[in-house]
Subunit: 228 residues, 2 copies
């Protein structure tokens, strides 16, 4: 009844019957029980996007690292800490009609991570060894079976945003890249606004600066158009 | 009038007229604009302690890293990110009658931190160089001028808690160490309870496991007794 009333008001839901996977937030990679390496991400853009997709009728699986903002209600929420856990949760959630990778995932983990607290060495400095994390975006974009019809990556850049993002799209094999400039002076990281460049097979579209909610609504519309 | 009513109800405030400095929360040490190294600390114990000190009549300066919990109302709050910023804020807040260092401060920072996002190298792995951060606790504990009458450190340990904390008290030159076992299986880190060992000049006191609020109340009482 309520659903019918909502549909009567807003019109049919373009993403009804579609399953969309969204990753969001940072990952935390442990160094020892008290220290970790994190990526800066409030989770605001991924959460706003998940909300917009749900409003458009999609069933959303929301795989989130430890974010500042609360996850969207109405999503199937899977909470993870590390990139490896996020990778596993993503593959457990497939198949999906579309997958949007908005999380800021650590490229590497600390392979020398200790289950005891590191003590200061004689010179007071640690030696950390790193190992590469699985590339979640490329892994899904390059699936031969059950690849989502639309695979979208995000690129957080600080210089040559369009060039870096265009190269990333080709390298990863995904359909779109949503790129933004996260230089501290833009105020985008942790802020309420975003200024994105959408890289598709047709090239680069520079969107005007707008609220993360408006970016989310516009992206959800584009995803709806693409999946019809 | 309200103050008088409160005092009439609760009795005299043992810490009235005293200035207590409390540090709390983690520090974040940047690697590049999107990555950082953090210490796990919700800020719950430091915040509870500051509240208990305020309730006991103290003027509290609360120097906090990016914590999960909101800072106590009624404190002079100084928000910082890095250990160096915390060091500077602590020294700006002195003199104090007592200083309690409950923050989980990074021992080292990334000296190779970049203002551009690190790109993956050929083997995909970063090389991070570290430098030692100032030792805030030892610095204040060993001041010759304007040392607070009572200097309290915290020790988050995962093994040999009492021995490590006793050694830390001697090494730092502080009066007390509040030690706890932060091994993941204790559930203390991020939880609502704490099990502490208080190391003083008289030796080690093992307190029963209790809420962080009760630990705070008990510590505030002890601080009040000591400063009288």
């Amino acid at each position: 009844e309520i659903v019918a009333a909502v549909e009567a008001h807003f019109g049919p839901k373009p993403l009804a019957g579609k399953h969309v996977l969204v990753t969001s937030g940072p990952t935390h990679e442990p160094i020892d029980p008290v220290r970790y390496i994190a990526n800066r991400s409030s989770g605001a853009q991924g959460t706003a996007l998940a909300r917009a997709l749900i409003a458009a009728g999609a069933r959303v699986t929301f795989v989130t690292g430890p974010a500042d903002v609360a996850p969207p209600s109405g999503a199937d929420v899977v909470a993870v800490q590390t990139a490896q856990q996020m990778h596993d949760a993503v593959h457990a959630a497939l198949p999906a009609d579309a997958a949007v990778f908005a999380a800021a995932v650590a490229d590497w983990r600390v392979s020398s991570a200790s289950d005891r607290k590191l003590k200061k060495s004689k010179d007071g400095l640690p030696v950390l060894e790193f190992a590469e994390n699985p590339d979640i975006l490329a892994g899904v974009a390059q699936m031969t079976d059950t690849r989502p019809a639309l695979v979208v990556g995000f690129a957080a850049e600080t210089d040559d945003v369009e060039a870096h993002a265009t190269a990333k799209r080709a390298r990863k094999g995904c359909d779109w890249i949503v790129a933004n400039d996260v230089s501290p002076e833009t105020g985008i990281m942790g802020g309420s606004e975003n200024a994105v460049i959408l890289i598709t097979e047709d090239g680069a579209e520079t969107w005007p600066r707008m609220s993360k909610q408006d970016v989310a609504t516009r992206l959800a519309e584009r995803i709806g158009n693409r999946l019809v």
